[in-house]
Symmetry: C2
Subunit: 344 residues, 2 copies
Amino acid sequence: MTRTPSAVISPTGTPHPFGGVFAMLAPHMAALDQFLLGQLAAFEPEIRAMVNYCIDTSGKRIRPALVFLSGWRDADEVSPELVRAAVVVELVHLATLVHDDIMDSAEVRRGRRTAVREFAPTAAVLLGDALFAHALHLATQFPTTEVCAAVSESTRRVCAGEIVQSLRRGSTDLTPADYRRIIDLKTAELFRVSCYLGGRLAGSEDGYVGALDRFGRHLGIAYQIYDDLADFFGREEKIGKTLGTDLASGKFTLPLFALMDRLAPSEREALSGEIGGLRPSQPALRRMQMLDLGVFDAVEAAVQGEVSAARAVLSEWPGHLPTRHLLALSDVLLAQVAALRPVG
Amino acid sequence: MTRTPSAVISPTGTPHPFGGVFAMLAPHMAALDQFLLGQLAAFEPEIRAMVNYCIDTSGKRIRPALVFLSGWRDADEVSPELVRAAVVVELVHLATLVHDDIMDSAEVRRGRRTAVREFAPTAAVLLGDALFAHALHLATQFPTTEVCAAVSESTRRVCAGEIVQSLRRGSTDLTPADYRRIIDLKTAELFRVSCYLGGRLAGSEDGYVGALDRFGRHLGIAYQIYDDLADFFGREEKIGKTLGTDLASGKFTLPLFALMDRLAPSEREALSGEIGGLRPSQPALRRMQMLDLGVFDAVEAAVQGEVSAARAVLSEWPGHLPTRHLLALSDVLLAQVAALRPVG
């Protein structure tokens, strides 16, 4: 099922960086984009241009893909309920990106200036709030409170994860369990709820919805570990955001854990100093060490382990339509991690 | 019905700054505080201390009061539905305060360090998000999506108002209509929805709910004009927040509009420079001019005008129980404005 990314054209006409199963989602993503653009009118005229800037169409749309694939019934059907749920999770994600970029003082996101650089941090804080409020408002347009309840709880957990990460910034006394807890909250939670909502809205039985939920959580953890590796080994023009910010901003991620473990005790203090902001960061040196000391391999293995756990959950439900497509999506993630490895 | 503020003791044991009808809400406010504190357990352990810092019990609780009074049926009854709705609007309000204080770089709120000073801006951004997400989650615990829909839409409007204000900061080419639009969105909206929810949850007929809604909106505009006057004429120990920030931070509020109108053309440039941050602000001089040139009177008259409009809406419904109490609340606001006038 896995194709090379360049072989696949996304709904917006450019190759989707994740390729693969995204190709069959073209009509769904077109409906998503149309729905998203249609929401502009719901915002006050004074802030529409700012909202429009955030609702661009160049994101990877992974969370919407999880909603669509988890609720998959028929290739010809683009369910309006799934489109609305996909818009809700994507808007929540966009809102958290706006606020994350404030925290990270990030310059570039999706190949252009971040909202915080474009509009100043004060406006960006409230722009994120407005996006989030509108997401929750759309979530109330389902017949029951279930979608809104699930999404608002997830959002609180995403924020809690980001807060914990921000409080521990620059600190190297984090344990691997702390790291896992942070990425479970800040990333896996929204992956999880995307799969959960897809399954629920498609009317799947409770057992399968539970499996989708657990699949999404494992995939989200795998994705964040991939993303943390990409911060060191990605190519900026491909990833579309400023890279190398984790070390520079003191985020102690899995690649840095693994490197710290493998450095001689005498060399650890220098790395701690870089993470703690006491010394200038040396990303080129750290990348080289990561390759030489087997850090890349170890982190790739961690992604593979989480993807295996995700796949194992769904393997008990081979006859259900979403299963095959979600397994294909997890293949794409594995291919993306492998593609980060420098050539030669 | 209006009593002097000092004659009334709030549920937390200190005189409520607004006194009056708040006295009869003591059991309601106690239930509100208990419910609010009970929510701490719903937050991730790592952020509970921060949430607790925000959920203090020393706020004025005006929006909860509007929920309780608009849904008033019987003094002996503390309706759990009204308590939950009051908690929802208060949490949304607390979340916006956390974000506003980031934008204003405010040091003091409710007599102590703001969350942004206590926890750093990055954590405060996400703390506000978590409070807001939890408010919306509580709003999903009603039988239908109506409360969540109303509150999420209101929140988006509040954010839009704050964004517009922030984009126009330092500018004196605002019109009075722009100012009214900003305060309608950023303040009156949450007053309005508080009254609306109280009426709806109490099962009032649509006509009366509409009247409560319009009353809340006028009262919210009146309250914000009062608050803008208090920024110049309040006493810090009584208001509990840093005063004089509007001029220093370039917010062109009604007192400054009215002053600009009354200054000789030759003097206007200096005031524009203070608002635009080109000259140091001269709050003592501006206060003196506001008194001498009738600005205080004009702004007080504007508050009275909005309160009159609010009262007129309810006067068509004299037999309904909330009417009397809400009129008493509007009396309290008038007394508060009058009390801002310097003695002698």
